[in-house]
């Protein structure tokens, strides 16, 4: 019974990953990271509900709650950064920001 949820969580996670790697718009990239969070939340809760052994516990959900907090914090900073970068170079293209490139 656990398998479908885990599979679904994995699919969401990977799609987020693919989105992060392929999209060039900075905001969408961060959006995809949020999607990866969704996958993980689903995963956590599924494990909480159908633990491999023993009675179901709520730890999964507590973790999911924390995860949401972290996601919120991350989103706040990421967006602040994006705004800053946008004002700095006027573009959201990920390729434009290569200052750390090794000549």
């Amino acid at each position: 019974m656990l398998l479908p949820y885990l599979l679904l969580g994995a699919i969401l996670f990977v799609l987020g990953l693919i989105g992060f790697v392929t999209r060039r718009n900075l905001i969408i990239m961060f959006l995809c990271t949020e999607m990866m969070f969704q996958g993980i939340i689903l995963n956590l809760v599924a494990f909480g509900r159908y633990p491999l052994k023993g009675a179901p516990t709520f730890d999964g959900q507590v973790f999911a709650l924390f995860l949401i907090a972290v996601a919120a914090a991350e989103a706040a900073l990421a967006l602040a950064l994006v705004v800053l970068l946008y004002r700095y170079q006027g573009t959201l293209d990920a390729n434009a920001y290569r200052m750390l490139k090794d000549e």
């Binding site: 479908p4 679904l8 969401l12 999209r23 509900r49 052994k53 179901p56």
Partner: protein, 231 residues
């Protein structure tokens, strides 16, 4: 089981690749068709796995919506629509959570994610709205490698899950949570007993993020033109 799963997932990968933004319109449409097919087969597979007792129909619905929304977020040209599809994804996940009897969490998810985080995203997207679609939005970046790597990872994860669960399969399914499932009280008690330290730390983290965001936003950056000028 693994060979069928792998086939579906590769089919999905091909479909996603075709549906990637930047290709010609018809190829993208073909991509979507392939994705739909793969999604359907996957759904059938999942349902077969889910034993009867659970409301299978609901799970299938929510799963379908979730995957579709996720795909659209990745493949849509305009960022605004991606954000909106993401909101749709959140609702789908909330549904799934309700199925897993995590009612408080689903509500929390909706409020925080859809309500707060996505709103900021949309706000920032509006801020950085270009008149016509920005070049970097239309053309995706090295889709081939991205998809390939992604689905390779997915296959492995699946394989991993499958390996992981096989021993668990035999154990009898645990009984549903007896008293009120996933209520706020059930989640709140461990929060304040077992994870009281974690709560404080998360509070601290949020504070830090708050201060960070303000610090970044307050500083008026010298744009590249100016910074190169005075260097």
């Amino acid at each position: 089981m693994p060979t069928l799963l792998i086939a579906i997932l590769t089919l999905g990968a091909v479909g996603l690749f075709l549906a990637m933004p930047g290709g010609r319109a018809d190829t993208r449409r073909v991509g979507w068709v392939v994705l739909a097919a793969a999604g359907a087969v996957l759904l059938a597979l999942l349902l077969r796995l889910v034993p009867g007792a659970d409301p299978r129909g609901l799970f299938a619905g929510f799963a379908l919506v979730a995957v579709f929304a996720a795909l659209r977020v990745i493949t849509h040209g305009k960022p605004v629509y991606s954000a909106l599809y993401f909101i749709l994804l959140i609702f789908a996940v909330t549904g799934l959570l309700v199925l897993l009897e995590a009612t408080f969490l689903s509500m929390a998810l909706v409020i925080i994610y859809a309500g707060a985080i996505l709103v900021t995203y949309v706000f920032v997207i509006m801020l950085a709205q270009q008149s016509r679609p920005a070049p970097y939005d239309v053309k995706s970046r090295e889709p081939v490698w991205g998809c390939l790597a992604g689905f390779l990872l997915l296959i492995l994860l699946a394989r991993q899950i499958e390996l992981f669960l096989v021993p668990a399969q035999r154990t009898p399914l645990p009984a549903p949570i007896a008293e009120a499932p996933g209520t706020i009280e059930a989640v709140g008690v461990p929060l304040l007993t077992e994870y009281v330290v974690a709560i404080q730390i998360i509070g601290l983290l949020l504070l830090a993020a708050l201060v960070g965001a303000i610090a970044i936003a307050r500083r008026r950056p010298t744009t590249r033109a100016e910074s190169e000028g005075d260097e």
